[in-house]
């Protein structure tokens, strides 16, 4: 978060340490976007503590949670989080959730108006 910092002309970005997270092969992340919601199929178990990111994801996704939120909460860059989440879907530790159609219809727009007005 950069609140409070003086506005620079351009943010040079931050250097990152390479990540050491074991993922077998290269699971396809193409079906995952920021708002894809996933949910844990099981609670974390005793064997999960050696893989803390996975353990955290199992805990954080006890209820359906967006990929963006999981990445932020677990402290991983999105692309890394997606790789891990895709791997955990393949291993059946996480599952994809579905919601109604992706395109908000007029009914949804009216709900948004009402919801925002009530804020």
């Amino acid at each position: 978060m950069d609140a409070g910092r003086a506005a620079p002309e351009s943010d040079p970005g931050r250097l990152v340490r390479p990540f050491a997270i074991g993922v077998d092969g290269a699971p396809a992340t193409s079906g995952l976007d920021l708002l894809t919601r996933v949910v844990a199929r099981r609670p974390p178990g005793d064997d999960d503590h050696m893989r803390p990111e996975r353990e955290s994801l199992l805990r954080l996704a006890a209820q359906p949670q967006s990929v963006a939120e999981l990445a932020a909460l677990v402290g991983l860059p999105l692309s890394v989080a997606k790789l891990l989440i895709a791997d955990m879907i393949e291993s059946r530790d996480l599952a994809l959730c579905t919601s109604a159609s992706a395109v908000p219809g007029d009914d949804v727009l009216h709900m948004l108006l009402d919801g925002l007005r009530a804020l």
Binding site: D11, A61, A68, S79, E90, A95, L109, M111, L116
Partner: protein, 213 residues
């Protein structure tokens, strides 16, 4: 990846709303908050979000910065771009997610994914430097993504009027422009409402609650 159909399950813990076995999770609606550095994106996301704004990062590789030579890319330094987001539970069926990230040329690789499926955008304009919103305005215009312009007024900067901003930013007459304060919840809420009304108006002028000026 496993197919969506075979892998949909209810959460393992029965608690919580909207996720009973066989039930559907709420529809996720995405609104973007765009603008230059320091214009108030994080502030606006935070002022309306029901959760403290979260921040995640995307790794910016040489490839995503548009460098052709990928040889030895693993040795090159990698930087990140921050992405803030917040959430508003609208009702049991709809959750609104707000995403804010810099609208600067080299970050567009990120915006392509962000813009995918977005309902629209609030472009924040900075009265100290109106031109910092040009790239974002251009990005949304080209993709025909509905947007409104919210003008954050900073102390010591020239106090622009709406029409002055419209002329300077050169957006068409139907794009709503509001004077806003990202620190103020009601003001940020008004910007979001203006966007939703604008989206309705674009879909069907008769559907909008009130005619836009």
């Amino acid at each position: 990846m496993a197919s969506a159909d075979s892998d949909n399950v209810a959460p393992h813990s029965g608690a919580g709303s909207g996720a009973e076995p066989g039930g559907q999770i709420p529809l996720a609606v995405k609104i973007l908050v765009a603008g230059g550095f320091g214009v108030g994106k994080t502030t606006m996301v935070g002022s309306v979000s029901e959760i403290a704004p979260l921040s995640t990062e995307e790794v910016m590789t040489e490839a995503s910065m548009g460098v052709d030579d990928l040889g030895g890319v693993e040795d090159k330094s990698t930087t990140t771009v921050a992405l803030d987001f917040g959430r508003i539970t609208v009702n049991q069926q709809v959750v609104l997610y707000l995403f804010g990230t810099p609208g600067q040329g080299r970050f567009w690789f990120m915006w392509d994914e962000l813009a995918e499926g977005a309902l629209g955008a609030v472009v924040l304009a900075d009265t100290r430097r109106l031109d910092t919103c040009f790239p974002a305005v251009d990005f949304f215009e080209r993709r025909r993504i509905p947007f409104v312009v919210a003008v954050n007024r900073f102390e010591g900067a020239h106090d622009y009027g709406v029409e002055e901003v419209r002329e300077a930013v050169d957006v068409s007459a139907d794009v709503p422009i509001l004077l806003a304060d990202a620190r103020d919840r009601q003001s940020s809420k008004s910007a979001l409402l203006a966007l939703v009304e604008h989206v309705m108006h674009r879909r069907s002028p008769a559907m909008s609650a009130r005619p836009l000026p």
